[in-house]
């Protein structure tokens, strides 16, 4: 672990990017913030700009129209950051594997943009809030092993 990964793993600020999801993953992410699950207990906090973010929570199979915008978000985000692909759509395109307008999954696009971006996959359709929190905590724990 170096100081950068230590910094991110402590209190991850989250930015939510919807790249064409069905909304279900998104409301589950918002659910994480509401009284029952309350990720703020772990220091997680949604922020309003990619420039403030440590973790990009990406949902959806990346549609053709949102892809260039997503790439711009990747550019704008403060480095280093990690990308959390939330939901089966984002991890592998899932149901939308053969859809003409979906060009994901997330890893493919981030790899094309920058090889070094770490992608954390949280599968589920939708993943429950518990799973999202668990995925984030596990992922951030493992961050201690890497040097960013």
């Amino acid at each position: 672990m170096n100081w950068k990964s230590w910094g991110i793993s402590k209190s991850p600020w989250l930015y939510h990017v919807n790249t064409g999801s069905c909304n279900n993953c998104d409301i589950e992410i918002v659910d994480c913030l509401t009284p029952k699950f309350d990720v703020e207990r772990f220091g997680g906090k949604l922020v309003g700009s990619p420039r403030h973010a440590d973790v990009l929570m990406v949902t959806g199979p990346i549609t053709r129209k949102s892809k260039p915008r997503f790439e711009r978000v990747l550019e704008a985000a403060a480095k280093p950051f990690i990308v959390a692909a939330v939901g089966t759509c984002a991890c592998s395109k899932g149901m939308f594997h053969d859809a003409y307008n979906c060009v994901g999954p997330v890893r493919k696009v981030t790899e094309a943009a920058d090889e070094d971006i770490m992608v954390l996959n949280i599968p589920g359709c939708p993943p429950r809030p518990e799973a999202i929190i668990d995925g984030l905590v596990t992922g951030l724990d493992q961050l201690k092993e890497v040097k960013l």
């Binding site: 053709r64 129209k65 892809k67 260039p68 053969d98 003409y100 307008n101």
Partner: protein, 152 residues
């Protein structure tokens, strides 16, 4: 009113030009002659409070068919008016937005997905289609080549 009395009323007005159509207890399908199409739609929308639910476009082998679905909420049935559109270089038909403003987005969607032009439409802009696709790509047509689409 039910679909059969409704149809009788309409055929009293439009005669044989209303064409044949199927009907059941809560659905009515009409195949009118294209020349009375606009008057028919106006009659359904204005006199019978038909709500334009949507327009479905079907890509049949030799032509397109537009299906204008009107829900008659008070009466509890749905009337569908079918209008064939020739499949030539530049398929086109008249827009109904001046009569029904709610049709604007619906027609824009059909325009970009099937490439049917709606003449006199107020905003011939893209609504859903990605910038990466050409103006000549019409994804919902049956012959649209999905395999060779570039992953731009």
């Amino acid at each position: 009113m039910n679909p059969s009395t409704f149809k009788e009323e309409l055929s009293g007005r439009f005669g044989w030009k209303l064409g044949k159509g199927e009907q059941s207890s809560d659905r009515l399908y009409l195949n009118p002659e294209p020349e009375i199409f606009e008057n028919l739609i106006e009659a359904i929308f204005e006199e019978h409070d038909g709500r334009l639910a949507t327009i479905s476009c079907v890509d049949e082998e030799d032509q397109f068919r537009l299906l204008y679905h009107f829900a008659l909420d008070g009466e509890g049935f749905i009337t569908t008016v079918k209008l064939p559109v020739d499949k030539d270089e530049n398929p086109s038909t008249e827009s109904i937005t001046n009569l029904i403003p709610g049709a604007e987005w619906i027609e824009r969607e059909v325009m970009e997905m099937f490439g049917i032009e709606f003449r006199n439409h107020p905003a011939k802009k893209r609504l859903l289609k990605a910038e990466a696709l050409d103006d000549g790509d019409f994804p919902y047509r049956k012959d649209f080549d999905v395999e060779n689409l570039e992953e731009t």
